[in-house]
Symmetry: D2
Subunit: 138 residues, 4 copies
């Protein structure tokens, strides 16, 4: 399978911060989700497309590694890599300071394809998802 | 209509705090929602019951007044008063320090009954909601 | 005082949504804060500048009006207007669909200048804040 | 080192839910933090005590495993186990349905002791933290 890599930019807002004046660790999950949805949009297979095919991709596992804390108004780049598609969707994330390139955070998520109606797990990707990935151009 | 007043207790968690080491102002909305759901549960007309009747009560208006900031592990009491039911659901909230009774915050919300399927606004409460309120005993 | 009006654009993310598949009402507070910080940055008087002058501007009041619900990936424009500066900072917000211009939400916030060290309320704006506003060009 | 195990109870609120009508995956981090603070309170070594000793324990790693989704008003039990204290604080979490005992989620966090002023990493626990753990009675 072709590896796809996209970049999503975001800025740390005041509501992201905790009393140590850095991003509260749980808020990185939001950055990851926004970056993942951005990647799926660029591929052309969005949550909307999943639903039309009766699919959902709930998150089954996540590994988070906090390297250096991010601060107010810091510009972040979330590099998102589609690692595996079958039997499960595995995505890697790397958050760096947009300006310096310094690595702040990395993570990996595993999502499993589920039939919304039956709740059944499906271990391969849909034809249309695979096709979109094949057609993807950077 | 009978005025109903309930009390909901909660504790300030670390994730509620902002860099000033006090509850971030937007997080009070969560306290209000938890208190409101608690009141509806005590009345016996929950979101589940609403849905069965094809109703939703989206929030249409909110007024928030921040009086004194709340801090880590502070025990809060949210006094919730069902003010009006028709033509719209109006609820008042008052957050005090559980121990001292000192007032920290007050708010008011207006919610409008909507038919989930048609999206139509309905200006009276359902029979079953009214009945539950009549039957409510403190 | 010169009225200042800025526009901040944002996109509805999946984590913003509630079970009705629309933005959870409490999340609008985040949009407002991001828009407010963006306006202060454009004016050139940021939270950082406030702190250097020993000032904070905690939110004292908010009025929120929910007109039409926003949905996944909808592009929003938050028009932010600096309405009054003294005795308190009053800002108005209007959220519209970026494409159609349809109004979805409006709000007003009141923030009070406080000396961080003494906790004392101050009813006028600092010289430097006033100067930045005078110098502001759209 | 003595293993310490505590239990923290919480209820799923409406604001925790996503469009699939289940707890949004990122919100489990809040449950974990509340359970962890509860454990530290029971041990008698709180964030406040840490700060007095110039310590912070930022989260360095997390592993999350989502087993079964939680729904509105579900009562959850977060079993929290202090696994290791040195060279890093390792805590395990298991979220079960309070009534049925069915496992919904499990996680592990690693936190590293840091001197707040110097930013320096410290690979052992403070005397007072160790003493509190020794004295802990279930």
């Amino acid at each position: 399978m072709k590896k796809i890599e996209t970049n999503y930019k975001t800025t740390v807002e005041f509501y992201d911060l905790d009393p140590m004046n850095v991003v509260w660790h749980g808020n990185y999950i939001r950055y990851l989700e926004a970056a993942r949805c951005d990647m799926l949009e660029k591929i052309g297979y969005t949550y909307e497309d999943m639903r039309k095919e009766n699919n959902a991709y709930p998150v089954a596992k996540m590994e988070l590694k906090f390297i250096k804390s991010a601060t107010f108004k810091q510009r972040l780049n979330v590099k998102t890599t589609l690692q595996e598609l079958e039997p499960a969707l595995i995505i890697k994330y790397e958050i760096t300071d947009e300006e310096t390139g310094k690595k702040l955070f990395q993570a990996q998520s595993m999502q499993i394809r589920v039939n919304i109606e039956t709740g059944e797990t499906i271990y391969n990707a849909s034809e249309s998802f695979l096709k979109k990935i094949e057609e993807y151009k950077e």
